[in-house]
Symmetry: C2
Subunit: 211 residues, 2 copies
């Protein structure tokens, strides 16, 4: 059985990563598994351990980081969030694809550890559209907007680290493109060669029996 | 405007390359252009210069090979056949994809000259099916069949030189897969980065005007 693939969807803040992931989730018929993050924040009512998050203590989280058990992590308003390596690897070894939707900083960390993954960068239709999304909230100062803009441009420069650039002009179109990328990546020779080598084994049997 | 891509479809003898190409032609709405081969054989009634083939003399063909104007060539029953480089490059520079359906030997020659192409290897569903296609003609001796089988296995080993392996279990499914590969390849960061760098230029204007 061929191994599953790690699929990483990332992109600049405000580009619509979450919405595209939700569209893929809506369509998804067991085609791939979503990664569950680990966090040190408290469980909220209705959240389920192992479904929404793996909840853990700060000490355990830090230990996981130090012992190289996290594919990526960051800190956000005083809490740690990260992707446990074991869950990802277990899924892949079961022959299932696993899907990560993370920020650009996280994706770069993951790429260092699992460069064989498929790294997809979600982009705005053009920078003007991105600027509208950034400035369009209407409540922020020019300085804040400038800073956000500069950050977005830096993030787009990071695109060079990725395999694919998917334009998020329409959520359904972006999801279509991502589905095609995943199907196409499964046909990569480097991913299927092992299966074919087994088939070539059949050939040796044939030749032996035949002579 | 982004450049077009070179798409090379190849695979073992008898795997059904021609049938899959015909299915793609049938569907194709100007999505890509088919490469026109050059040959030294005589024009047959109904054949059109520049559509079916570029017809040429042996001296001109040899000159083209020596002056590196052929992407690949071979000799078959006393005539030369090959792919003129200029036609391929012109099409790509016009922003159109060009599609080559050639044998494994030709594909390896093309890859040496244009490694940025997309190399697709068409495979039989399994070697047993390939063996049936090879032996199923029913008119050939065991020695001939053995030789064909050994050649097919060698050709499958060449798969390592390709980007994608597409199983030809059903012609329509194989064509679907190839269409997905082509769409997906157009989203590769390495292919679109130049377009994005232009967009990033817009950003510099924005910053200059804004301050």
């Amino acid at each position: 059985m061929a191994k599953g693939m790690l699929i990483v969807l990332s992109g600049p803040s405000g580009v619509g990563k979450g919405t595209v992931r939700q569209e893929l989730t809506r369509r998804n018929s067991g085609q791939f598994v979503y990664s569950v993050s680990m966090t040190t924040r408290k469980k909220r009512p209705g959240e389920v351990e192992g479904v929404d998050y793996f909840f853990t203590s700060v000490a355990e989280f830090k230990h996981a980081v130090q012992s190289n058990q996290m594919l990526e992590y960051n800190q956000y308003v005083g809490h740690y969030y990260g992707t446990p390596r074991q869950y990802v690897e277990k899924t892949i070894n079961q022959g299932k694809d696993i899907f990560l939707e993370i920020d650009v900083g996280g994706a770069i960390q993951v790429k260092e550890k699992m460069p064989e993954g498929v790294f997809i960068f979600l982009t705005p239709p053009d920078l003007k559209a991105l600027r509208m999304r950034i400035t369009g909230r209407g409540t922020d100062s020019a300085t804040v907007i400038d800073r956000r803009m500069a950050q977005a441009v830096n993030e787009i420069n990071l695109m060079k680290e990725y395999d694919y650039a998917v334009v998020n002009d329409q959520v359904t179109k972006a999801a279509d493109r991502i589905e095609k990328i995943i199907e196409s990546e499964h046909l990569k020779v480097k991913r299927v060669m092992k299966d074919y080598e087994k088939v070539l084994g059949v050939k040796h049997d044939y030749e032996t029996n035949h002579r």
